[in-house]
Chain length 147, copies 2
Amino acid sequence: MEVKPGRMKKLGTHLVVDAWQSPGDLLNDPEHIRRAMIDAITAGGATLIDLCVHQFSPHGVTATATLAESHIAIHTWPEYGYFAADLFFCGAGDPHRAMEVLEIALEAKQVKRTEFTRGFDPGVGIQGCAYPKQLAPRLLKTSATRG
Amino acid sequence: MEVKPGRMKKLGTHLVVDAWQSPGDLLNDPEHIRRAMIDAITAGGATLIDLCVHQFSPHGVTATATLAESHIAIHTWPEYGYFAADLFFCGAGDPHRAMEVLEIALEAKQVKRTEFTRGFDPGVGIQGCAYPKQLAPRLLKTSATRG
């Protein structure tokens, strides 16, 4: 296959998210997380190829979704009320909209999102490709208090 | 489940990698990528739970590995000789060693790694948790010219 160097531009948006103050019971419920992932994928306008949800012992859940647009992964630590999420979207879809659904479903009250642009060719004058745009941490209302 | 705020420390290392100048044929070969992923997981000392490898049309491969330690995801754009990789390891394992195996297998000649620490509690005086440690881009020898 012919490779065309120097013609590459942005290929994807990668949202790196850390979220705190979620109820431990929600973070330890694989079926709740499975539904939240599917709802997030739908809301983000993405296409699911494969979804793996795994429950750890004694607690914790990992879910990885392979998408036509790339992937979403979530890892939970119920004992800390914390979860990490990664949403890598190329082409169509809106990772921020998908993340909103996860935040609401898991009732995270503090969330930090960092956005990366992935895929720039380093030879076209852009120093590397992984430059983060840090979005301010924010307090969220829980789903129970949302309007 | 009881949540213990303020007691959380580092939970994981997340390596965000962009790699260029790989042969398009390797980046478009799902079986080669499947073997490279399994070799990388073994080298990194991680435990595989599930592996999804998907071939796109007309070209491009995505592979997502759900690990006991979190996940590895790789997305290739053969037409640009580019791939994006994410290696999120909590607890045991060495994502850098796993990434070396992927770089060699896919013969990437330019690689940029950015390392994140994930999971710090923002309430314990650390401003957020996603602060990147950017590792210098470097030229790699291809596997054909190594050692």
